[in-house]
Amino acid sequence: MMSNLKNIPADLSLKTGTIMIVILIFFLMAGSFISPYRPELQDLSQTLSPPSRGHPLGTDFYGRDLLTRLIYGGRITLGISTLATILAIMIGSVIGLLCGFFGGLFDLLCMRFIDVLLGFPRIFIILLIIGLGYSSLGLVVLVMALFSWMEIARIVRANVWVVKEQLYIKSAQALGLSRSRVIFRHILPNVSGPIIVSAVLLISSLILLESGLSFLGLGAQPPTASWGTILNEGRTDPLGTWWISLFSGILIIISVIGFNLIGDGIQNLLNHTHPKERNVA
């Protein structure tokens, strides 16, 4: 794969997506440099004002500067999504590796269990858990992760089947390497491609999920804001206070598209470099 990185002209999707996300991250990180305000700072003399000199993106119901809130909110949204993704990847990869490698009863049971879990529409489950409990960000991350790892496990498992039969794995086994070493030092690096693709795509779908949850009132709780909550704030008067929904919505869309492009780009890259062992994703 290393050699081909130089040979294949970098995919347009990948480039565009990466640029988008990098800019976005810069924007989020640079918070205090861009904006003089603090996100909780209320200025009741300026509530609900459209974009202006002092507030380039306008203010919200409490006169808080929207730009600042979006910056800090973005950190929350991306933070939640990324954390949940990392967790889901860890769980899903391990289970996928074990199931794919060992097969047998363990595999059968796991797959059945996964089928059951997949039978619940995500929203229902999340509603179930979060709605019933107290809303904490940690809980949101945990629940999101717990109901996203199944996809990853399936993909990893399918790829493990392919890699397992390769001669270099058999050679490693012939050397007498322990099973855990074979799985984690030999098989895992060679299925990492699809894992990364899934991870990136998962981040984008979790961003959407998070906004949906906030819409229902289950995401971040005030005063913490995420893009989803801000989007929701603008709901009562979508045309009157258009700037609130518009800008938060645009940010959500940009980040989702960005991550999707990156995911697609990596996917294309993988499919071109190993035409023989076409990665299953």
Partner: protein, 260 residues
């Protein structure tokens, strides 16, 4: 009375089948890849298994290495029945028997440098000597240059890849090295070089070879005994000279004629 020398490898009445459907080991919609094959490799001897493609040679190898469960028969390595071993014991045993597969590129992990591949083998076999020196010496003996250690498998030529595989196989100082079609991917001059290399190594390190090939002429210098198989069935077996020069079997004769 001469003490009985026990063979390194003994295969008795091996049966390997590939089935579609049915459970492991049960004969059910079967293709019998290997039927009732028996042979042994004695210390100081090298055996060549000869036959056309599809004759079941690779299946025999995979069964000996423990990657396939035979449908019937026994395989004894250094006197131990490998089917009875626990996985821990099997791992111990693997020390002594190493494969060099036909597809040399596919046998090397594409994500590891050659150096790390070899170092890993060193770690597994608990080689005590100074590792760098050991590897350098090994590479010299095999005819590879030191710079190869930092490269990846896709950067190597076919011949180099094969030698790397051979080097890895030799790190643990195994008793038996199994070579699956080692000459298939080479032209005549490279074949000659490789044969010489194998001969030298065998002498220096007191190795035994089990070579699988369809090309009789190339393996004759390397083998002490030959086993001829066809479609998974036993044809004949005996010392090299006898088979090559005095065989009465029609099939063997066609094999000999095909390459001479």
């Amino acid at each position: 009375m001469l003490p009985k020398i026990s063979p390194i490898l003994e295969v008795k009445q091996l049966v390997v089948s590939y089935h579609s459907g049915g459970r492991n080991g049960h004969l059910f919609n079967d293709t019998l890849a290997v039927q009732d094959i028996s042979f042994s490799v004695n210390p100081g001897e090298s055996l060549a298994i000869v036959g056309e493609s599809g004759s079941g040679k690779t299946s025999i190898l995979m069964a000996i290495l423990g990657f396939i469960q035979p449908a019937a028969g026994n395989i004894y390595f250094m006197g131990k029945d490998i089917r009875q071993l626990s996985s821990a014991e099997m791992i111990e045993l693997r020390h002594w028997i190493q494969p060099v597969f036909q597809d040399s590129g596919a046998s090397l992990n594409p994500r590891m440098t050659i150096g790390s591949i070899l170092h890993e083998a060193l770690r597994v076999f608990n080689v005590d000597d100074d590792r760098q020196e050991f590897i350098q010496k090994l590479l010299t003996q095999i005819g590879l240059e030191g710079g190869i250690l930092s490269r990846y498998s896709y950067q190597l030529s076919g011949g180099q890849k094969q030698r790397v595989n051979l080097a890895r196989a030799m790190i643990g100082k195994p008793k038996l090295i199994i070579l699956d079609e080692p000459f298939a991917a080479q032209d005549i001059s490279n074949q000659a070089n490789f044969v010489n290399l194998l001969l030298n190594l065998r002498q220096t390190f007191a190795l035994n070879y089990l070579i699988v090939s369809h090309n009789l002429s190339v393996i004759t210098p390397l083998a002490d005994r030959i086993l001829v198989i066809r479609s998974g069935q036993f044809v004949e077996e005996g010392p090299v000279a006898e088979i090559i020069f005095h065989t009465t079997n029609e099939y063997t004769k066609t094999l000999i004629n095909a390459v001479s």
